[in-house]
């Protein structure tokens, strides 16, 4: 236990270095974009009749650095603004700060991703236990085949198929927006109901695409636990199979919790397709539209946030791994 704190500190420091590296990457990326968008914006403002000094300040607000200064000065300015959580101003959403836009986008991604992963985790775990425990029955083979099949479908195709099949071919679910436009947004029952009804397909897309992975990992985890002595002991003590399965599942699930945290981080990156297809204004959607509209501050900001989510998830997973499993702490 006493090694836990220095280890955690080392991981956090490593994470900070990585975040800085990604921030530097986005900084240099903006400078490498063909046609120099910063100068182009400056020229555009000056043509529009803005005073040069004022144009400079406006560009500074957008990108977080003053143009026409030595590169290292720009770099220090950029990182300095980042440390103050200032990611610049969006170009397409005229003048709105990127931080504000991303904070607004975050709930759409976080809520759909986590509910999708929780649903798939529950079903995947159940399926994995069934596959491993009833290894010699038909149901096990069937479930394995089913899980492998679902595991193999890429998220893009899955989401497109779900959207197309269940909104157009069989018009069961609504399509095209995250809630019914006729209902006024607010904390009211009809609005929340509408949100949930519209979220069925995107959440299902997240859930189905990660279900297979859980089922197959849980299967091998359970099989490795089945050989342990304490299972044999519980069998010899004459415990009911139901209680025994409980014992097995409880220790087999441990390694999966770390993967759970990791996958929440990675799903942030995978949110791109599902948000584009179901028109959810989350982080992935922001990244796509910003890239499409050449809104570089917003693009750099959303890429940074997505990466930070992954890095944080990595650290939490590592920490959880040591905290949850007493055998590692020694």
């Amino acid at each position: 236990m006493n090694k836990l704190v220095p280890r955690l500190i080392r991981r956090i420091l490593g994470g900070i270095v990585m975040i800085l590296a990604v921030a530097s990457f986005t900084f240099f990326l903006i400078h490498m974009i063909p046609g120099n968008p910063v100068d182009a914006k400056l020229a555009q403002l000056e043509i529009a009749g803005v005073q040069p000094q004022q144009a400079m300040t406006e560009v500074h607000a957008m990108y977080g650095f003053m143009p026409h200064q030595p590169l290292y000065v720009q770099y220090v300015q950029y990182i300095w603004e980042l440390l103050h959580l200032n990611l610049g101003k969006s170009i397409t959403y005229a003048g709105v700060s990127v931080t504000h836009l991303l904070l607004e986008a975050m709930p759409w991604t976080v809520i759909t991703v986590t509910s999708g992963i929780i649903v798939s985790f529950v079903f995947g775990i159940l399926a994995g236990v069934i596959i491993a425990v009833y290894r010699d029955r038909g149901i096990s083979n069937g479930l394995t085949l089913f899980s492998t099949f679902l595991h193999g479908i890429p998220q893009l195709i899955l989401a497109l198929l779900l959207a197309y099949l269940f909104t157009t071919i069989w018009a069961i679910f609504p399509y095209g927006s995250p809630y019914d436009a006729a209902i006024a947004p607010g904390f009211t029952l009809p609005f929340i109901g509408s949100l949930a009804w519209h979220a069925v397909l995107p959440v299902a897309a997240y859930a189905i695409s990660s279900y297979g992975g859980w089922a197959l990992t849980m299967k091998s985890s359970v099989i490795s636990v089945l050989g342990d002595d304490f299972i044999l002991a519980s069998e010899l003590r004459g415990l009911k199979p139901r209680i025994r399965i409980g014992y097995i599942a409880r220790s087999a699930i441990l390694p999966l919790f770390t993967t759970l945290t990791l996958s929440i981080g990675f799903m942030f990156g995978g949110s791109v397709f599902i948000e584009e297809i179901f028109d959810y204004r989350g982080l992935g959607y922001m990244l796509i539209t910003a890239t499409g509209n050449l809104d570089y501050p917003l693009m750099a900001g959303s890429f940074l946030i997505i990466t930070v989510a992954v890095i944080v998830a990595n650290i939490v997973a590592d920490f959880l791994y040591t905290a949850i499993d007493p055998r590692i702490r020694v």
Partner: protein, 301 residues
Amino acid sequence: MSQATAPYLGTVPPEFRRPSLWTISWRAITRKPSRVIGIVIILFFTLMAIFGPMLYPKQLPINPAELYAPPSWAHPLGTDFEGTSVLAEIITGSRYVLSAAALAAVFTIGFGTLAGVVSGYFLGSTDQIIMRVTDFILTIPGFPLLIVLSTIWSFGSPIAMGLVLGLTGWGGLARAVRSQTLSLRERGFIEAARGLGLSNSHIITREILPNISPYIAMNLLLSVTGGIYAEVGLFFLGVIPFQSNNWGVMLNLAFSNGAMYTPQSLLYMVSPMACILLVTFGIVLTLDAFDEILNPRLREG
């Protein structure tokens, strides 16, 4: 024993001769029907990508009178929102998708194997540096990175696309190859080779690489599927300007031209997706045979 025996020149009687790679492959593939199906699917799509585009004009004809036409002899998979034959689009679009994916796999394998072997064989500070870079590559979410890179890198040609997919995707393989190299370098035959004073490059190319080649070959095939998903995804999102038609562009145009809203576009929507899944399916089925062909330990007598 009076007759003169011909001098024994090292010809091995046929029953003891080591079978050629072709024989081994043929035996391994025909052992299970699923593997034959896999190979047939891959061959089918390879031929489609090589010769298919020659059958059609560079600019596919559009026909405003036949929007979303049902399947017919002229258009076996129906037509799209402009009246272009879906089958023609699938065939002409296969070349870019498959060649870029194949190149992506080659680059991924190249970078990953190089980094993994060098890191696992030389250890020390080389290993430290390479593994830091690998961690970095593995942590950064790959697909968003590709989207961001699309602003400074033109993915137009299959080579450019393959190269960037390779550059962003080698991390996992490098780690796996490194751990395999680590366990190999402690084995007796490698120690013997080092004891004999053989050069590092000889040990790596002649002793280590052949031993991990089955693993690499399987990953080559698997990376093709990864490459297809990534490029189709990029084209679907429309962040790359496209010069020619391909399956990802088809999905993009279908999505942005309202094919999602009409049930008549069923074949148009489903065809590119079905092709992607079929290629994946073929690759997964073939992988099974690959393992047996390349892994001497699995071969029977």
